[in-house]
């Protein structure tokens, strides 16, 4: 297929926006309604694209999973994915990323009563992560490097992994901080859970688009930079992370991290590997 996404969406008058069913940055309310920090940001990007194209571009929401999002972007099913995808070097070989809009910190979530306070306390414990995410890889590497011996269980998705923690099958849930916060906040007893210890790794999250389409990437990046510059993205952050959100009207309660602030100050599309090297 052609690599000129701008021409394609202009011609068809619609864009396929990749969204997630249940991540902290993008999730569904049912009935084909998709919301979240990244989803709304994506909608604003499309609004900017519409303006540039001079005609209304309709959004087709296409829910993706962590297993299929890359092939879908590659094969043209999805034009722009604004879910919660880590920008890393391996992926950058197949797709390209917009500037980083959120920097995820991989953290440890545990029960407040567990006595786990940091990575070293995980020795001999059972740790939950989610199939098809890069956190598993991070964790695996850490494990080998530091000789830390813990058992690993993998949920098929984040809610599943959280359930492992909730039901006591796992002692900790290692994952992106936003996901941890969202899952804990939605649980029955949000106060039972706490995020502890050091940041295990830092992952830049960005919208994903097809490779080798510089014009489209520029249009997307420009829109994001505008949103950062005029403060609207910060308002969006406040709305989705610090205020009550649907469907249950609970707060995630996750203030903006230093890393995210830095990324906004200097918009860039550096992959995760560049962060680790720092």
């Amino acid at each position: 297929q052609s690599n000129d996404t701008l021409a394609k969406i202009k011609a068809s008058g619609s864009i396929s926006l990749g969204v997630r069913d249940s991540s902290a940055l993008s999730y569904t309310l049912g009935n084909g309604k998709y919301v979240g920090f990244h989803t709304e940001m994506g909608e604003r990007i499309v609004a900017d694209l519409s303006k540039a194209a001079g005609k209304e571009i309709k959004i087709q929401y296409t829910p993706v999973t962590s297993q299929n999002r890359i092939p879908l972007v590659q094969n043209g099913t999805v034009d722009l994915e604004c879910g919660s995808t880590t920008n890393n070097a391996t992926r950058a070989k197949d797709v390209s990323f917009a500037v980083t809009t959120y920097v995820e910190e991989v953290r440890i979530l545990t029960k407040a009563s567990s006595g786990i306070n940091g990575i070293s306390d995980l020795k001999g414990k059972t740790v939950a992560t989610t199939t098809g995410t890069t956190s598993v890889q991070t964790l695996r590497r850490n494990k080998r490097a530091e000789g830390l011996d813990f058992k690993e269980v993998m949920g098929k998705d984040h809610a599943d992994s959280f359930l492992l923690l909730e039901s006591g099958r796992a002692d900790a849930f290692v994952m992106d901080g936003s996901i941890l916060a969202a899952n804990a906040s939605k649980s029955r007893n949000a106060a039972d859970y706490k995020m502890v210890g050091e940041v295990l790794s830092v992952e830049p999250i960005a919208c994903m688009l097809r490779k080798d389409d510089p014009a489209f990437k520029k249009a997307v990046d420009d829109s994001i930079k505008r949103q950062i510059a005029d403060g609207s993205l910060a308002k969006l952050y406040d709305k989705w992370f610090l205020q009550p959100i649907p469907p249950t009207n609970t707060k995630i309660g996750l203030p903006m991290s230093e890393a995210t602030k830095q990324a906004w100050a200097n918009p860039n599309d550096k992959p995760m590997e560049d962060y680790a090297a720092k």
Binding site: Q67, T131, G168, R169
Partner: protein, 241 residues
Amino acid sequence: MGNWDWQVYLQDPGGKDPTYLQWMLSAWGWTISVALSALLVALVVGSLVGILRTLPNSPGWVRFGNAWVELFRNIPLLVQIFLWYHVVPAIFTPARDVPPFILVVLALGFFTSARIAEQLRAGIQALPRGQRYAGMAVGFTTWQYYRYVILPMAYRMILPPLTSESMNIFKNSSVAFAVSIAELTQFAMQAGEETARPIEMYLGVTVLYIISAMVINRIMAFIEKRARVPGFVAAGGTGGH
């Protein structure tokens, strides 16, 4: 789709397996362990339940057997696995400490046992009624005519569906990835994601599944050949996944 990159199999995934290839082979091992253990459970439980359903003058047992079959075959396997993995331990806490492997084997085994029970019942009832009468007429007790007359023929007759059931159990074990068993499908999804080379990973896994299916098929064909009764011809059955 073009350019293959089979080198990915030699990359280091960073875990205990030095390469993706070795990881895939170990995943194959999990698939085989889950499938064979579940097959054992399914055969034992399925036979028992199947026999119960055909016992003469035992309406209680027949009803129990029927209930078993209906319960385990009318809920999707995936949902049953979730029930065993999430719901049962939530209601019955000690089940939390049972390793997922056992839970999956039980889930897959019981699910398949319902189907084997159904086949065995059909096999037994497809035998001419006269065979049962003949067994009774020479003075066999119920247990004896099952043991010496009915079951040997019934098992032979259901070997074809048992073959497809055994192949199914390998395929169905793929659902175990949903509860953290590091088997082939989980490998395909995880490794496809990590390497961004899903096609290569899927192909490798698919080939292993086909090999597994063929090996099981050959083993069952061998058993069928060994068990063949000279001069006896019977019609086979079909259906199901």
